[in-house]
Symmetry: C2
Subunit: 371 residues, 2 copies
């Protein structure tokens, strides 16, 4: 267990906006980045939230490795697609603009797809997919990322944890929001186990020789993550295939970096991350209400089905995250003590002191919470 | 090990065409179905090949459960999408026509998507995705199927093994062809282990109480398959999410059956299977040759990387299947003795005797070969 402090979401949001503005990000863009980072914290995906403020964004803005003033540039356009150059701007700014354009295109063409090259880490993929929901559309987003995953029968880090996000609106039920890394776990999870001195479950990751290991140190020092599925016997090559698919759409198709060439945010180089977006008007295929009611019925089939021994609930993807968002918006967002310290240090560096009043303390189990 | 007989691909193809024609399928359509079934056998996905001739197609045609004369009907159309009613025709005929229309639409709109409801089992998803390759396009196909997979924390069969297929052309290398069920293994694999008296590897499937089991009988009698990833600890809910995604696109969006309502091909009812297709022109996003050369480079990064202990090769998705196709086209396709017997019996029922001359015999290990 580890100590955490709870803060008002709005307070954390304001701090992030001030932080980015101080670093030369125009206010309207700072709001976009803060909103997308906070959407991760609110959904319990703390690995993609405020914890990355300095390492993924602040330090890179300070070093001139991200251009906060860059505008998306259209490279190619067809009736139902756009290829965009993010011109090394903030990933969230490039990503949100790209998905908005994708939604606009889908309005006239029924469905649309947009790629972005020359971008940076854009936060959680799910945010962009969910943008489609208010328009009676299905949304999709993929992104590639720095290499952390070994291909089946390999031992080196060659592919990112390349997430897949898909969001679809239901009628009375909450939307379907799949937002999943194509590895079993993110590398941050291994770090957390390492810090707490715990062994990893068998099947999450490999050591430097490509053998499955339960030792976090063996993973962090030259090892790699398993793709979803794990070893070959359990069909880990399918997870490897999904990661490769995401890289082909986000990296190769957009003209961004791909495979082992996507830069780690800690590296002193342009990351050249690539993203992929799609939007699909429900009424291009069916009456939207009929679609939504059938989706409700599919969810009901799943949720009311018999549970496995010892289980009480079958979840729909996104359901836990919507519940957590409501809770955190009401009760505040818990941040681990070490995260608070890193925010204090980051705030000091930038000249925006982190002086928020905590709503209280709580103990959380970082190894078994969130993503 | 089990005895298999080897046959010329062309001989098997001709037998299938004659079989379907005898059952009232027009010759040009019989050719389509035979071609798609054979593409599975040639790729080593024998579970979706000639083995299904009678159970999935012949018996249903005989009983009037599939209409061999049905034409696809367009329900909705936008500049980049079509919603089709397959009118209970052959899944392969409906699917091939739908993907051809999708490719035509993408020619003018850049990208396109097509759904099909009221269809039947369409064979391997990869066939349709690969149709895009000759047009300098990326192809995608999903389909739902009869329920066999339990959701995470559930115990009942609620979702199909709902496959995802994606094909993208490379330059000097062979194309990327991901064609994967979103379960760990197909149910046919469990049947094969059962017949050979072997225990299943841990983590493939659950018994009637939703507990992981290695006993094939426990899976076949009221159990279910695990989604890709397996149990919750190994993030099986991601595989469950992928299966649900495929069902939402193939079943709910198309207006077909979904979840537990997709009929087993053995059932005396319309299956109302749904499919989803997408086609994306490479040049809507990038210079096609640049895309293909970058894809070659990504493959090279993967294939030339260091191998895990004891491994000699890292594969790209589709690579093994292309090699097998070349081999089987040259040397013939091996069919298990029991499959040959079932073809003889099916041929007798229909009045098209299976009298092919075998090229020879060989021993194969059904539990550890193919899909």
């Amino acid at each position: 267990m580890a100590k955490a402090y709870v803060y008002h979401a709005q307070d954390l949001f304001d701090f992030m906006v001030n932080f980015f503005v101080k670093l030369g990000v125009p206010n309207d863009r700072a709001v976009i980045v803060a909103e997308i980072l906070q959407s991760a914290d609110l959904r319990g995906v703390s690995s993609h939230g405020i914890i990355r403020l300095q390492t993924y964004y602040g330090s890179r803005l300070q070093k001139g490795l991200i251009n906060p003033l860059a505008d998306n540039e259209i490279l190619r356009e067809s009736p139902a697609s756009i290829a965009i150059d993010g011109r090394n701007g903030l990933g969230q700014v490039a990503g949100k603009d790209a998905m908005l354009r994708c939604i606009e295109k889908a309005k006239t063409s029924g469905v649309a797809m947009v790629t972005v090259c020359n971008s940076n880490h854009y936060g959680i993929a799910g945010y962009y997919a969910m943008m489609a929901l208010d328009h009676d559309m299905i949304g999709i987003s993929f992104t590639n990322a720095q290499p952390l995953v070994a291909p089946t029968f390999g031992r080196n880090r060659l592919l990112g944890t390349n997430p897949i996000a898909v969001a679809a609106p239901a009628f009375a039920e909450r939307p379907f929001v799949l937002d999943m890394a194509t590895s079993i776990v993110p590398i941050g999870k291994v770090t957390v186990f390492d810090k707490s001195g715990e062994q990893l479950p068998e099947g999450w990751a490999v050591d430097a020789r490509g053998d499955s290991t339960t030792n976090p140190q063996s993973v962090l020092n030259g090892g790699a993550l398993f793709p979803l599925g794990g070893p070959e016997l359990l069909r880990g090559y399918k997870g490897y295939g999904l990661a490769l698919w995401v890289d082909i759409f986000s990296g190769v198709l957009s003209g961004a970096a791909f495979g082992k060439n996507v830069a780690n945010p800690a590296k002193l180089a342009n990351a050249n991350v690539g993203h992929f977006f799609a939007a699909m008007r429900l009424d291009a295929f069916r009456d939207p209400d009929e679609f939504k009611k059938d989706l409700d019925e599919l969810f009901t089939q799943l949720k009311t089905a018999e549970k496995a021994d010892g289980q009480e609930r079958i979840f729909i993807h996104g359901e836990k995250e919507f519940e957590l968002t409501e809770k955190y918006q009401k009760e505040g967002i818990p941040l681990l003590e070490e995260v608070v310290k890193s925010l204090m240090s980051a705030g000091e560096t930038v000249g925006v002191p982190f002086e928020l009043v905590s709503l209280g303390e709580k103990e959380i189990d970082p190894a078994h919470a969130g993503n």
